[in-house]
């Protein structure tokens, strides 16, 4: 299942770079695309603004089929205070922009599954696919707008996984 999680993340990261290369984050001394997996980073004391934080939640497994299917719920958390040049008055627009970006990078709703343990990554036999996202209401904390969105990600377990 880790291969599916890695493939999902890398696919979204690649798509984000293609549509908005300016959305980046400085993390551990390196400038990276603005989408990170929370469980693969040092704990955040405060979630960074203007970045997609990817968080894995529920796991379900269906063993009734010839190949077991795993369903893992992925939550995206993203927040913004707008930009300094507009005094934060554009925070609503900034959040709408991130909503749009998330919807864009989630399509198409599938990607090949790769094994990132090996270098270079090796293609596996099946693909990873996911459902349409469900967006939660905006939460407001002073001048910070935060949104979460959830997607169920599916994959088949292959031999050796």
């Amino acid at each position: 299942m880790q291969n599916a999680k890695d493939s999902f993340y890398v696919a979204l990261r690649t798509r984000l770079v293609a549509i908005d290369p300016s959305r980046t984050i400085l993390l551990r001394g390196a400038v990276r695309p603005g989408i990170v997996v929370e469980e693969a980073e040092a704990p955040f004391s405060q979630l960074p603004n203007d970045v997609f934080i990817l968080r894995w939640l529920v796991l379900g497994v269906d063993l009734d089929f010839p190949s077991a299917m795993a369903a893992e719920e992925c939550e995206f958390v993203y927040q913004t205070c707008g930009t300094q040049s507009f005094g934060g008055l554009d925070r609503g627009r900034a959040l709408s922009g991130m909503d749009e970006e998330l919807l864009t990078i989630l399509q198409p709703f599938y990607t090949p599954k790769l094994n990132y343990i090996s270098q270079p990554p090796s293609a596996m036999l099946t693909g990873v696919f996911w459902d349409e996202p469900s967006f939660a209401p905006i939460t407001v904390q002073r001048d910070r707008l935060t949104r979460t969105a959830r997607v169920m990600v599916y994959s088949y377990r292959e031999q050796g996984e």
Partner: protein
């Protein structure tokens, strides 16, 4: 080189995509779909002459063929079974309103509402139309050449219909799709342009003609074709004409597998019908989406392979690496 494999579960699908192609009514020739040669086509670019009608929902196909046992002995018990009738029905909802989806979802002729002539008397299916414009030489499927004087009467956003004048012919009329069957000669010179499927949206107007947003279904206009502006579309409950199309439904699985349902001949089997759907699952207001409901009867063709009469071909292209 060895291939790895896995045991493929039942396909997981999200939606079904529909493609239609016109049956040549005069020659009774449906359009072929060969899954062995054409099965890998891009869903957004179907092979010619298939036309994508987008995603559909609530797709139901219902085999209605009846079989009956041949009984023998005392007490009687089945010895064989025979197929008494050959019949199948298909129904689904279109997720868009276009000329073609509207036509397919009606059981009769589908008409273009031509822009009326000034002072014309009212009529239920559109008043007498303004005079048609002759298409000039040099036109293509995406560009209609007109004189500067005539082009000035059009604007971007207009819908236009192109076809020949009606001159008293009977039988199937309309190109490239038979839009109606004329049993007795009519008097309306614009009748073929009323029923033609050769329509498109004007995206740009210049002094030399009209650039179209989509290519004309009939390709470059032939000599003698005329053009009229269209304000909308109309169909009627009743009549004796049945739309007949070849249909292809594609069910794409999550692992790249594909199921094709190919109906060589589908005829509308009911009158125009709409259904409504709440705009969103959690939405509690009164907004509803109005969808076209298509209901079809499958007609048989004789398969040249073995002479069997069949209604539908179902083909399956497995996912890469899936064990069969």
């Amino acid at each position: 080189m060895a291939a790895n494999w896995y045991l493929a579960p039942a396909p997981v699908t999200r939606r079904i995509r529909a493609y239609f192609a016109p049956v040549n009514r005069a020659a009774q020739a449906p359009v072929l779909f060969d899954p062995s040669q054409q099965g890998a086509f891009s869903l957004d670019a179907p092979p010619s002459p298939w036309i994508s009608l987008g995603w559909i929902q609530d797709f139901v196909r219902q085999p209605a063929s009846r079989t009956s046992p041949v009984l023998t002995g005392i007490p009687a018990s089945p010895l064989e079974q025979v197929r008494e009738t050959l019949q199948a029905q298909v129904s689904f909802q279109f997720l868009s309103w276009t000329k073609l989806t509207m036509a397919l979802a009606t059981g009769s002729q589908h008409m273009n509402l031509l822009v009326p002539a000034t002072g014309a008397s009212a009529a239920a299916d559109g008043a007498q139309a303004a005079a048609a414009v002759t298409v000039q030489a040099g036109s293509t499927a995406s560009f209609v050449a007109l004189t500067a004087l005539e082009a000035a009467n059009f604007a971007p956003g207009n819908i236009v219909a192109l076809d020949v004048d009606y001159t008293g012919q009977t039988g199937y009329v309309g190109s490239p799709v038979s839009g109606a069957y004329v049993r007795a000669a009519l008097t309306d010179v614009d009748y073929i342009r009323r029923v033609t499927f050769n329509v498109s949206l004007v995206s740009q107007v210049s002094s030399t003609g009209l650039t179209l947003a989509e290519p004309l279904p009939g390709g470059p206009p032939a000599a003698g074709v005329k053009l009229q502006a269209v304000t909308g579309f109309l169909d009627r409950e009743g009549g004796s004409f049945y739309q007949e199309w070849s249909a292809l439904f594609v069910i794409q699985g999550s692992q790249g597998e594909r199921i094709f349902l190919y109906y060589p001949r589908l005829q509308s089997r009911s009158g125009a019908e709409e259904t409504t759907l709440p705009l969103a699952g959690r939405q509690t207001g009164s907004l509803r989406r109005t969808l076209l409901k298509g209901q079809f009867l499958a007609l048989p063709v004789t398969d040249p392979l073995d002479g069997e009469r069949v209604l539908c071909y179902r083909s399956f292209l497995p996912a890469p690496n899936a064990l069969i």
